[in-house]
């Protein structure tokens, strides 16, 4: 096999870029859509429970019971959405999904509390949104516990025993945004690579232009390079945009080196391109390519640790996730952003990205070359 011609690669690159930019309808998809997504992810993907709507049924109607209700609101986690008069209203509010959690203060609450026998309140939780339910319940219980301790003489004696002094590193206020926004980089790069390459070959095959290229002296490897280089550039521009907006707008700290981030991104892009090319090569129609793309994209995201902690998954899925380049890339991105980690710590992730990326692209090129030879 003779050497690849840089000149011919440039021809294909130029053609791809022209086609990408020609259609005014597709331009926004390249750069605006990633921004919109970043903003969406930045604002919507928020697992911090704040201002959770709470329904309160105060049957005691005393100063003490009002104090308890106020305390729940002043924590900042809850706001009283419904002041119920009857128990049936609580049921209705939960059924209609207006609140996820409800607090019922019984009629003799203040009397019980004053008598020193200990009082009780009832919490009703909507378990359908188990995520919010769990977190909200935790907060509410803690707030009630704290209130109760203050009302008793236990506070002092507890203070003399063991107590927890938590300290969160890298993200002291435990903001979920600092965790999610860097993760978006991985998802968006993957999405761009798949969207822009999954169709590129199958489309030309459907339109007949692929044959015109095949009779020309252009080699399969040149064609692949010409088709993937522009995509890689788009992905890198998107990376730069996301890093800029993430740090400047969302105030996510970038503690590590940009160079490390760039290196990891390049390796990761290899995997994304390989997946896209493979999809495009094995698919006979664009529709098929699209369905296959989803079949790849969704599990890649789910098994990456982006939303869902990998360590809580069944063992089988934890194993599968080791084959997922997104997983390693997210680990790198988060560590570089928040922990300022470098290659010394991150070498296993880099090695995995390198192995997955190079074998992926090698397989893709071979499959592609075979399919058009």
């Amino acid at each position: 096999m003779t050497a690849l011609s840089r000149f011919r690669i440039r021809q294909i690159v130029r053609k791809e870029v022209r086609q990408l930019l020609r259609d005014p309808r597709s331009r926004p998809i390249l750069f605006v859509a990633p921004m919109v997504q970043l903003l969406l992810f930045g604002y919507a993907v928020n697992t911090d429970v704040r201002n959770t709507p709470l329904a309160v049924l105060d049957l005691d109607r005393s100063a003490v019971s009002r104090e308890l209700a106020d305390e729940m609101v002043s924590s900042g986690y809850f706001e009283i959405a419904i002041q119920a008069e009857r128990p049936s209203e609580l049921v209705e509010a939960l059924d209609r999904g207006q609140v996820v959690i409800a607090l019922e203060i019984p009629p003799q609450f203040s009397r019980d509390l004053a008598s020193g026998r200990g009082a009780s309140v009832q919490l009703l939780v909507d378990g359908t949104d188990s995520n919010t339910g769990t977190i909200a319940l935790g907060y509410l219980r803690r707030a009630i516990l704290a209130y109760g301790l203050r009302k008793s003489d236990l506070t002092e004696s507890l203070a003399k025993g063991p107590r927890l002094e938590p300290r969160a590193w890298f993200n002291p206020s435990l903001e979920s945004r600092a965790y999610n926004v860097p993760g978006v980089i991985g998802i968006l790069i993957l999405l761009m690579c798949l969207l822009l390459t999954s169709f590129s070959v199958v489309r030309e095959r459907e339109l007949g232009t692929l044959d015109q290229l095949r009779v020309s002296p252009v080699k399969p490897a040149e064609l692949i390079l010409g088709k993937t280089i522009p995509v890689a550039v788009v992905a890198l521009i998107d990376l730069a945009l996301i890093v800029a907006v993430g740090t400047a707008w969302f105030g996510i700290p970038l503690r590590g080196s940009l160079l490390v981030l760039l290196a990891a991104s390049l390796l990761f892009i290899l995997s994304g391109l390989a997946a896209g090319l493979l999809i495009s090569t094995v698919s006979k129609t664009q529709q098929e390519a699209f369905l296959t793309m989803y079949l790849v994209l969704l599990p890649s995201i789910v098994l990456s640790g982006f939303f869902f902690p990998i360590h809580s998954m069944p063992e089988l899925f934890q194993w599968i996730s080791y084959l997922n380049p997104v997983r390693y890339f997210l680990e790198v991105v988060r560590a570089v952003f928040l922990k300022g980690a470098g290659p010394v710590v991150l070498w296993p992730q880099f090695a995995a990205l390198l192995i997955l990326g190079t074998t992926g692209i090698a397989v893709a090129i071979r499959r592609f070359a075979r399919s058009i030879a």
Binding site: A33, R96, S130, N131, G148, L158, L164, L174, F199, F317
Partner: protein, 370 residues
Amino acid sequence: MSRRRLLAIARKEVIQLGRDPRSLILAFLLPLLLVLVFGYAITLDVRDIRLAVLDLDVTSESRKLVDAFEESGYFSVHRRLERHGDAERMLVGGEVSAVLVIPRDFAADVAARRGAPVQLLLDGSDANTATIALGYADAIVSRFAADLLPVRDVSLAVEAETRIWYNQTLESRNMIVPGLIAVLMSIIAAMLTSLTIAREWERGTMEQLVATPVHRLEVVFGKLLPYVGIGLVDVVLASAVGVLMFGVPLRGSAALLLAASVLFLLGAQGLGIFLSAALRSQVLATQAAIMVTYLPALLLSGFIFAIANMPAALQVVSYAVPARYFITVTRGIFLKGVGLEALLGSLIGLAIYSVIGLALASRAFRKEIA
């Protein structure tokens, strides 16, 4: 509108689908596979948080505390450390999510009752796990402390009796599977239709269809029918997997679920038809379909991220996301077992959506044909 012509188009669509068995198989396999993978893999229940322990005290007291962490089921002691430096390495490398540091004089401090702090170092870069880990650790240490108090029968002043409805164990699977059905349907529906119409434009067969005396509504409905059928089969398949394999309860009416699905599918597919007719290219149509359906359905529907926690502007936007209503309906039917009355608002939302989707679809055709 002629039913015969409508059915003729529907038949053509079915035949074409049948000729492309790979796509057809994918259309059924994809949701099934995703429900399985998601159902198993997605769990928001944090268990087995990886914990490293740096026990500088090494007494029976300190061991008891470590045991308390391990026995809780929420933490698994992954490493036992010797030095402070190790703790940092563990957290930076991401090997553990938290490090429990028990200082040298822990047992002595406990005995002397002068306050015995233990440190929990959390990897804040994973804020979700850290928040939850913190809550659990707090509870474990409080319990541990309370058990050490001389008077064991002191009850806390205010007891919170908790009753969790609909999903007693707060299992995240019960929350995810019904939501997943809605998310998957929004993806599949828009995807299948957006491709079929764009394909007809690209291949020039649409001109052919337009030249026949077919009314645009007939084209829209004819194209929709088979795909609504596929979508309904997908809903049934996904629900069956949820109920039979994951034990998600189906408490409400299955008929109502199907009815809501039809409304949702009509809207989503109408939108898909609109996109493909407007963009006329398979690539563009699919890209647009992803942006318009998949991401909002995932992020702004309340599938995982509570809408109440979002900024006000996004909350307003979420009212325009049909998956939001559909998820309310699926969760309501599956878990709450509520009926028409409680879900009326959401159903009206879905009905409006389907009307808009169909209107857009038929409008797109009128413009093209003119």
